[in-house]
């Protein structure tokens, strides 16, 4: 079978980066900012500072932790028909998030997102077969800040039967959020992990106390944890792609070790979030060749450590679903696909992941389709090379009437849903974005996720009300 794969780092390169990563962890260390984390690390033999809440890690602490990380991870759907396996046969794609604005593709205007917007986009992503699991794409801006995370989870499970991945920022939210998911899927997360989390470290070399302590609970409840460092070259990360990746890997390993110590064998995954800052504005750059390079280095190094990966993909700095969004999203996504990332953060965001749009999601799905075709394993044999047809047609004939042309037409040549391929005249009068928006509405009109049972709906409402009451008491 032939498959397009990139190989970037030599064995010597990987060893070099590994040694530098270990140097960072052993000589500088990491601030866990959590006494609970520090106790776990101290018990495992790490050198800790209980005042500063920092720890230095050496390979004799890291290596045993890596050995307990599972090599395949179930990301269960709310409905088991949408179960997917990370590290399995299928290359997985998720929607991106969390954006602030809803972007109107037709008017070019944007406004803060709402729960209704999140519901619409979630239903759309639920319907698109190219998307395997979901991030909440757009924040519910009208919901009070403290309640927003729970409200968003409720919106997700009410509008999609697919697996959901999000952040859990405080330990107090763990119980209510997991209760929502366990009610929705009707089973404990240890059995059916229909929810996973991104756990973002704070560059350089720090963990967020509350998110980390939430993570310590989540790993015991069966929730897969995608550790997502985000050092940005030139600001929170040093000034080269290579050195930024070293900081990424150091933060990543510090997170993996912590959760394996807390719950050996829990599902932990390398999420690649290292990026680049615009040094004029300090702003986040979502896409660019350096992101592609960072994806490659961090995915290869994660695999060196035996870790599954989720790479950064199609989100763009473009302000609309335009040429730039296709090109820059296309680069990072293609690289992630070819370097062998197990999953890709794909359908998604514009303007540095600040805004979401219907057209972008629909058009990204065509890009995902093209990528899946390009990275597919293809047999190299006479049957697939159609050698007999080449002989039979010979010099100057044609292949139009051949049985193989009909037989292989569908499997050999990918067909887009929206990308234009007919004549120029056929496309006139409607731009690609208009066609994409039209498709989004058609999909939404035809797709209605199965409603949750009434008792589950009531349970979810009660969980949110209970959490709101607890906040008032506090």
């Amino acid at each position: 079978m032939a498959k397009a794969r990139i190989s970037y780092l030599s064995d010597d390169d990987k060893q070099f980066i590994h040694e530098k990563t270990l140097q960072v962890l052993a000589e500088i260390g990491v601030a866990y900012n959590s006494p609970k984390a520090i106790e776990l690390l101290a018990a495992a033999g790490a050198q800790v500072d209980r005042e500063a809440l920092t720890a230095r890690l050496t390979w004799d602490v890291i290596e045993p932790a890596l050995a307990t990380v599972p090599r395949q991870i179930l990301l269960a759907g709310i409905d088991e028909a949408h179960d997917v396996v990370l590290g399995g046969e299928r290359w997985l794609c998720t929607s991106d998030g969390l954006t602030t604005y809803w972007y109107d593709d037709l008017s070019g205007e944007r406004r803060p997102g709402t729960s209704d917007d999140l519901a619409v986009i979630t239903r759309l992503c639920d319907a698109m077969p190219e998307i395997d699991y979901l991030w909440p794409t757009l924040q519910s801006g009208e919901v009070e800040g403290a309640l927003m995370p729970l409200a968003m989870q409720a919106t997700m499970v009410r509008n999609s039967a697919k697996h959901v991945q999000d952040e859990v920022r405080t330990p107090e939210m763990v119980g209510p959020i997991l209760e929502i998911y366990e009610a929705a899927c009707g089973a404990a997360l240890t059995e059916r992990p229909c929810f996973s989390v991104t756990n973002c470290t704070i560059a350089p070399l720090q963990h967020d106390r509350e998110m980390t302590e939430a993570g310590l609970q989540l790993c015991k409840r069966g929730v897969p944890i995608f550790v997502l460092p985000m050092p940005q070259v030139g600001t929170t990360g040093p000034g080269t792609v290579l050195s930024d990746c070293i900081v990424n890997m150091a933060e990543l390993l510090s997170g993996i070790v912590l959760y394996q110590l807390a719950q050996p064998g829990c599902a932990t995954i390398s999420g690649v979030g290292a990026g680049v800052a615009d040094l004029r504005t300090g702003g986040y750059i979502a896409a660019g060749p350096e992101i592609g390079l960072i994806n490659m280095i961090c995915v290869e190094m994660s695999r060196f450590y035996g870790l599954l990966t989720q790479a950064t993909g199609m989100s763009s700095d473009a302000k609309a679903a335009d040429f730039q969004s296709g090109s820059e999203g296309g680069m990072t996504a293609l690289v992630a696909a070819l370097i062998g990332a197990d999953s890709l953060i794909a359908a998604g965001g514009l303007d540095g992941v600040q805004q979401s749009s219907l057209a972008k999601i629909v058009l990204d799905c065509d890009q995902i389709g093209a990528l899946r075709r390009y990275r597919r394993d293809d047999p190299v044999d006479e049957a697939h090379a159609l050698i007999d047809d080449i002989r039979d047609v010979g010099i100057g004939g044609h292949f139009l009437g051949r049985k193989s042309t009909r037989q292989f037409g569908r499997s050999e040549v990918w067909r887009p849903a929206v990308f234009r391929r007919g004549t120029f005249e056929e496309s006139k009068g409607k731009s690609l974005v208009e066609a994409a928006v039209e498709r989004a509405h058609a999909v939404l009109a035809a797709h209605e996720p199965a409603p949750l049972p009434d008792d589950v709906e009531r349970h979810i409402d009660a969980v949110i009300a209970g959490y709101a009451a607890s906040l008032e008491r506090a």
Partner: protein, 512 residues
Amino acid sequence: MRDFVARLVGRSGVTLARRRRREWPAAHDTTEDDPGGDVARARVRYLSDEDQQFVHEHAMRVLEEIGVAFNTEKAIDLLEAAGAPVDRQTLRAKVPRELVERCLATVPRRILLAGRDPRHDRYLDDGEPIVFCTDGTGTYMYDDLTGERREGTEADLHEVMRLFEGLDEIDMNWCSICPRDVDPVTQGLRMAAIGLTESGKHLQDEVRRPEQVPAYVEMLETFAGASLHERPIFSVTSCTIAPLQHDKEMTEAGIELARAGVPIFVMPMPLMGTTGPMSVLGCCVVNMAELLSAVVLFQLAAPGSAVVSAIGTAAAEMRSGLYLCGAPEVALINTICIEMSHFYGLRTMGSGGTADAKASNQQAGAEGMMTGLAAALAGSECILAFGLLDGAQSVSLAKTVLDCDTVGAIRRYVRDDPIDESHALLDDIREVGIGGHYLGARSTRRLLRQGELWSPRVWQRAPFESYAGRPLVDDAVARAREIIASRPGTPVDDGVLAGVERVIASYRAAMV
């Protein structure tokens, strides 16, 4: 098979070991005194060694058992003299693999693509940067602002070539738009003259008829001020006709051009499902057979002449039969044919950049990046990259400008990046430590200046509000117009221009 490769390698004077170090899957030049010290380079490897053998064996069998229609006695004479079995009635020949091996051994590995202005000279060779070329040849000019299109004119060609001259990301040119309002008798010559007048970059085009060749050579040498052997400021694409045929007139022209020092870019174009089998792999077998048949021909006609493998094989949109250039299958075809061309020791021109999209939209960006990046990752020495939409039917100023940012991103991405202490910045990481920041670090400023982070020229990265809803295409058109108005490039001497006009006029008089 190893003997086959070893003979090629031995003839070129490069040892197999050193050659392999430059080949796939990973080429690493280790500097002994710098720990790490490697240079990491992103490359795709698609075919295993066994897969490459498979494709090679079947391409050889096609040539030996089915053969190729050369359609010209001149070619048949050359092949017969070289020992190939020929059929003079059908003007077909079967090409033994020994003859293929022999001819591949005389193809040069380092190929100069000279510019009229020597500052624009480019080389196809190991260690040279990728040469990015504009695409062509479109029938229509697409108006990015109205969405309308019309047939191209001479004035359009002047503007387009001026734009190409002014865009640094473009290394060499095709005459991307075919003007409908020029004298059809002298059209090709006129287009080349405009291309070389408005731009000092290397020019490539088709030459369709052998009787045009003397006029071309004289005109080009007038522009170059030297023989084309010495200053090959022009190259040709020579398209075979799938399956397994050569165009008589273009081939006869190619023979004369090769003898005159003009590099020939052989471009097979079987389309999956119509003129090629409905299989990526099968079309690549046909591509390689047609390519090698042309390499043999031009090496027999002019041993040591510059021949390049250009990949035009693609898919067809089965309802309309239209050429699809932005499909993922085209990216795969590029990957396979570039790998196989390298297997044979040939330099390559991959197809990238051109889109099936009807406008410079997300589809255009996505398609161009996929095919362009795939070709770059496969190690293509030259890539067609700029400007065309709608299956290469329409030229767009906005797309040309936007493609430059795609190419800039690709260049940054495939650049060799050191994996060493000086780039690992451990000292900075120690100094900043936990919770600091790197903004003030001297290394940050130094490395920015050295190009660690790429910046686009037109793509929008500033805050949303700063664009006030202004579409990207508008910015791209504005930049194009600005460049065109600035009339970039070095002017051509009046005497040279007068000489060129005399050549064209003489040719016309002779033809009419």
